[in-house]
Amino acid sequence: MSKTLTSTTLSAAALALALGSALTLSTAPAVGAEMEKCFGVALKGKNDCAAGPGTTCAGTSKVDYQGSAWKNVPKGSCEKTASPTSPTGHGQLAAFTEKKS
């Protein structure tokens, strides 16, 4: 690629090399791994989604394990996370009505 440095154009071959190498590099670390919304597992004030004013989701849950508040967790782990308020005893992928303790 160094031979292209003298001019400001890049050959098709240089572009192919760059894109091909970029593809290899970019797939190595799994940044942005798959996440899922998990309801009923967030402690109060620790729910996810700080999305600016007017959206009332940013760290606003008032109680621990609120059934309508969610947190982003790695995919597959939600229904294995304990939630004392959940009828199933674990986090759920949709909002639920908390059971009375």
Binding site: A12, A16, G20, A22, L23, L25, G32, P53, G54
Partner: protein, 258 residues
């Protein structure tokens, strides 16, 4: 009862008299009731700006922020009922706000924070698939003409200050004391799934991304970035954009024949 424009203007002007003809349901003094309402209107808008610009708020402190935001709110009240996008003009206002001139990077930090809000609410788009990339690579002769579409949430901020590092230091990543704010930095703001990322970019990336956004084909966008920064490395830049799902589609102009 006074007309609506008079009423609205009096809400934003602390020296304006209470609009004529107001009565309170319980017979209390309308002048005092109006003053309470006026105060609530302005302070709720200042609160909204504090939610949108938390790092600016931290950088200058509560007292300074409330005064600065209060001046802005009275000058530029919201034009929409949706407060989510309120404050688009706040960075430019900060730049012109004399008392803030001792913190020269404040306006760019505000720009970064507003790009994050924009990214949060931008439309979804799937990242370009490995199959699409393979398809593009299978026809290397046409790569220079490849059109690249960026994710709708994507924003780039080119700054004379270390905006991305400053912002990160306020998220508990790194130490503010270790950040030299006077090193120029470009920041990439993009949403992957539900998470908005702020990434410090190597020099030249802003040119490449701006080229894509302006609809330039890959070959021209890369040449522009290379012309601006001789050390520009296309591989690293494309890898970074692909890793964050910042590119959402590739296509070739159909009518083009060699």
């Amino acid at each position: 009862m006074s007309d609506q424009p008079t009423f609205a203007a009096a809400l934003l002007d602390p020296d304006a008299p209470c609009p004529a003809g107001l009565t309170a349901w319980n017979g209390s003094d309308p002048v005092r009731r109006f003053a309470v309402y006026r105060n609530n209107v302005v302070s709720s808008l200042i609160d909204a700006l504090a939610d949108t610009f938390p790092v600016v708020h931290e950088l200058v402190g509560e007292a300074f922020f409330r005064v600065m935001a209060g001046v802005f709110v009275r000058q530029a009240p919201p034009q929409s009922v949706q407060l989510v996008h309120y404050g688009a003009g706040f960075p430019a206002f900060i730049e012109q706000f004399d008392p803030a001139s001792s913190v020269p990077y404040l306006a760019d930090v505000a720009r970064l924070e507003f790009l994050r809000i924009r990214a949060f609410h931008a439309a979804d788009a799937d990242p370009v698939s490995p199959e699409q990339i393979a398809q593009a690579l299978a026809d290397p002769e046409r790569l220079p003409a490849l059109r690249v579409t960026c994710h709708p949430s994507l924003g780039v901020l080119d700054s004379r200050y270390a905006v991305a590092s400053l912002w990160a230091a306020h998220q508990g990543v790194g130490d503010v004391a270790q950040v030299n704010p006077f090193l120029p930095e470009s920041a990439l703001i993009v949403r992957t799934g539900l998470e908005v990322h702020v990434v410090a970019l190597p020099p030249g990336s802003d040119r490449l991304v701006t080229g894509f956004v302006d609809g330039l084909p890959l070959g021209e966008a890369a040449a522009l970035a290379l012309a601006a920064h001789p050390e520009f490395d296309l591989t690293i830049h494309l890898a970074l954009l692909l890793r964050y799902g910042a590119l959402s589609s590739f296509h070739l102009p159909t009518e083009l024949s060699p």
